[in-house]
């Protein structure tokens, strides 16, 4: 949650309980830090106040706790250096489908386009590559976070018309499963 990181699609000043928007660490230095909360549940998770994430879809709907702007903070690598440093990998761009289990472990995302990386260079183009894995293993395999932010906005299917803004810089992961939909 990052209102002080600039405008995002999910930015607001106060949530639907009137609690000011805040920046809440969810993961910090690789460790789980805390839950999103509202005025009713903050004390249940050991907080002194609500994290200001109680949101409603419409004037005639009860608010629930939902994510707002979910951001991965950037690292130190330049995009070109990420590629140049990779001996054998795949670069994927533009997600086009998303699926994850109901406890958010096993996921599969498909993308529009990819490229094989060999000895630090983009070579063969790939069509509709997908990648899958177990969430905790996936994020634990990240070894090179990119310096700059990539601002992007998606409509999360589970939120229907609510807005969120996931802001993930490009990252490299050492080992995970990818499948090729078909070669161009």
């Amino acid at each position: 949650m990052a209102p002080d990181h600039g405008q995002g699609l999910g930015t607001f000043a106060y949530d639907d309980e009137g609690v000011p928007a805040q920046c809440t660490d969810i993961i910090k230095d690789g460790k789980f830090r805390g839950y999103l909360s509202n005025r009713e549940t903050a004390h249940l998770v050991g907080l002194d106040r609500s994290s200001g994430t109680m949101r409603t879809e419409s004037w005639n709907r009860l608010p629930i706790i939902r994510m707002t702007n979910v951001s991965l903070l950037p690292g130190t690598w330049d995009y070109g250096d990420l590629i140049a440093d990779t001996q054998d990998g795949i670069l994927m761009e533009t997600n086009r489908s998303w699926s994850i289990d109901d406890r958010r472990y096993q996921f599969q995302f498909s993308t529009e386009i990819g490229w094989e990386i060999k000895s630090g260079k983009k070579v063969r183009m790939l069509k509709n590559p997908s990648y899958s894995g177990i969430t905790t293993e996936f994020w634990n395999s990240c070894d090179a976070p990119r310096r700059a932010f990539c601002m992007s906005a998606i409509f999360a299917a589970s939120l229907k018309r609510s807005f969120v803004s996931p802001n993930p810089p490009a990252r490299r992961r050492q080992k995970f499963t990818w499948t090729k939909s078909r070669a161009p």
Binding site: W98, R103, Q106, S132, S181
Partner: protein, 410 residues
Amino acid sequence: MDEVAGALTRFANNAIHQNVAEHGLTVSIRTVADGRTARATTNRLDEDSLRAAIEASLSLGHSQPKDPLLLPMPRRQRYRRVNRFVKRTAKFSAEERARAVRLVSDLALKKGQVAAGIYSTGQSQSALGNSRGLFAAYCETHAEFSITMQEAPAASWAKANSSDVRAFDPQKLAARASEKAHLAVNARELAPGRYPVILEPAAVLDLVGFLFYDFAATALEDKRSCLNERMGKQLFGPNISISDDVYHPLQQGAPFDGEGFPRQQVLLVDRGVPRNLVYSRAAAKASRKPPTGHGFALPNEYGEAPMNLVFDGGDTSIRGLLVTRLWYIREVDPYEKVMTGMTRDGLFLVENGKVTGAVRNFRFNQSLIEMLKTVELLGPAVRATGEESFEMVVPPMKVCDFHFSEVTKF
């Protein structure tokens, strides 16, 4: 004009935590002027507000480009009668919902489980008329019960809906979910691979629901249907026949479409061969076919879709790897209709005709076209409700060769 009066009781941790009710009426007005059309909607019913909505629609229309394909509004039509207004459902009270939830919560407590879910009842009516004399009206009641039963670390689920609140029994649904949750506690891990599966109706529904927008004539015209180049060919197994039939006793919905045109019964798939599409008036004219009464309200970009699907069923008692339901189903390849998603709320190994234990949930990557070629057995068709698709009448299916690509941790 649409009026909805509904009530919802939500429960979690074996207790009701919300009981809400809503009554609303919206008036949606479409205008046509000089070959341009637009629509404005309001829920204010005073004369000034209705006039303002008309003016808003005309103003929006003025900003639209002329549509050379825009047809005159249809004239007066005749409709088949359907009766889906059940007084018992309309009168179902909050106390009755609460009593039912109390009974399922008591069951959960007795079994050391945790119940969560919803129980909703209500009624709706809609009326559609135009300045050329068309008038259509429809009303129905609706009731739905959904329950998730948890017994750590497992869970299971059951859901039903109908226009008649007496058509399902929340206690029976809860008992079924409770039994499966208990059975799923000690799930073992199987290796990913191809397995014969038995898909319960909810699992069938949420998968095949991704197929039916492909039967829209506009989708084929736009070349975004998996049926492009495949109509009239043996695409599925000969035991697969599907129709769109709003008059089926297990279906719901109005007998007219978004323009007030009467809904026709359409045989979409005949013994595995896609035979017919559905057509809005505009798509019908472009294709020189008769309209089938499946158009969406104008203006829209999609044209039409079948909304009352009925699969032919069978009468077999089925054995295999039992799938309760599927989750987070998304399209990987739109032309081969490869879908991905997860099993959820109970995946059981069936050996020698008996459930022998639970297994950990899998991710699947499966072409629906290939799946419907390898349906070995069909059970009786029932009204199914899920989470990814609108309700349909579908059978449980045994599929010979279902592709589970990866396993998760629970």
